[in-house]
């Protein structure tokens, strides 16, 4: 297995970078979209609220594999032709936006209503309430869930090879089929995914600790 790892280190690194690049772009693009959705689902306007719910149900309720194929193979039929990597980022971003919006919604809902009312009594503006009262508490509540979502997205990104993006999983498959050593190849991929997950969780823990310290001050 060590020979396989050394012989193929360059392409494996490329695979890891593709996996990380696509995942982070998707998370970053999905975040603002998720926030918009979370806000929309708290609106009084029924149409706005419904539309947000339909979007979230669709992207949470259908398999990512199907979503990828949809974006890559069906969009060209209406004249939108995205290159493979961009199609992967767009599909995963649309998907994670739905999951992130639920995290944001739950986070905002967890802030006690009494605090918001108290702030209103004190004459704080809507924006001030969001920035000073709701957001700081919500972020602390949401952080573990957001780290979890990032980890889930990295795992889900292993499907993007179906639309011709050569990620870590595809690299392992390529190595498996040219060397006829599938077990070792997939074991290497597994170890690399575990390494990515460990680093991401460590970053998440660090952030959580930081926020706790801030709270203590």
């Amino acid at each position: 297995m060590l020979d396989l790892l050394i012989d193929n280190q360059a392409v494996l690194i490329e695979g890891v970078l593709t996996t990380l690049g696509v995942s982070f772009l998707a998370i970053a693009l999905g975040a603002p979209l998720g926030l918009i959705l979370a806000t929309a689902s708290r609106q009084n306007n029924r149409l706005v609220r419904r539309s947000a719910r339909v979007y979230v149900s669709f992207w949470r309720g259908t398999p990512i594999l199907v979503q990828l194929l949809l974006i890559f193979y069906l969009l060209p039929a209406i004249g939108i032709n995205l290159p493979p990597t961009l199609a992967a980022v767009v599909a995963l971003a649309c998907n994670t936006a739905a999951f992130q919006s639920e995290i944001y919604r739950a986070g905002l809902a967890a802030v006690p209503e009494g605090e918001v009312e108290a702030a209103q009594m004190l004459g704080l503006s809507r924006r001030q309430i969001l920035a000073k009262i709701e957001a700081p508490q919500a972020i602390r509540i949401m952080l573990p869930a957001l780290v979890g979502e990032t980890l889930a997205l990295v795992r889900n990104s292993s499907l993007i090879s179906v639309i011709a993006v050569t990620d870590l999983t595809r690299r392992a498959q390529q190595i498996a089929s040219s060397t006829f050593q599938p077990l070792d190849s997939y074991m290497i991929a597994l170890i690399l995914y575990v390494a990515i997950a460990l680093v991401l969780s460590a970053i998440g823990m660090l952030l959580e600790r930081r926020l706790k310290q801030q709270e203590a001050h």
Partner: protein
Amino acid sequence: MKHLLLTAAATLMLNPVSAVAEDLLSRITADGVLTVGTEARFPPFEFVENGEIVGYSGDIMEILMDSALPEVELKRLDLPWQGILPGLAAERFDYVVTSVTVTPARRDAYYLSVPIADATMAVLKRAGDDSIGAPADMAGKPVGSQAGSAQLAALEGYADTLDDTPKISTYTDFSEAYADLAAGRIDAVVNSLPNLLEAARQRPDIFEVVAPTFGEPTYFSWAGRTDEDSASLNALFDAELKRLIEDGTLAQLQEKWFGGAMNLPSALPAQ
């Protein structure tokens, strides 16, 4: 019609220099990029080494691009087999440079090129498994092949002629089928002979090819779309491949990748 207009509009927007794009080939030469779809998990035809797609088809493409499209850059996308023909139909790439086994249904739906290799079916077993001495010994045993492949269709056709039908498992690609054969979950894998010889050559302690081959002689070819737009590109590939078959270049490459030259006609046999 609407679709045509959209495509034309998109091409014009992306490519303001070339005035009116006549067809696929002229757009390829104008843009300087030929995009092809490949399933790079089919050694020795096409596989990945050090991040590059190499193999028999890689060598052919190198020669072909130099002689026919010297100014054009070749972009080879690697995607699973199940996405290759749908991707071609959805115009995700211009042409398919991956071993497509010739079948009547595929000849109706796609433009298949001049044959590039012999694809006659054979059986792979675990080394030293005495219970399989000929293809007919697959009767009643668990066997595997790739989902959506012509090899699977051939296996299913052959299985019907046996008294005791084999239990057939299907896989996303052949690597998984080989892995299951090695693990003992199935007793045989059906694929085209050149691929099986490569598997046995790479892991002689694990795999062994069963002689003889079975079924009708079949061929591998490449594929384009059947529309008017693709006609000149299809013709260019055909002319180049025919030339390479006739001047012995392909025979040399077969010697290099398969250890022996194949007897290849310079056109697909009539249906």
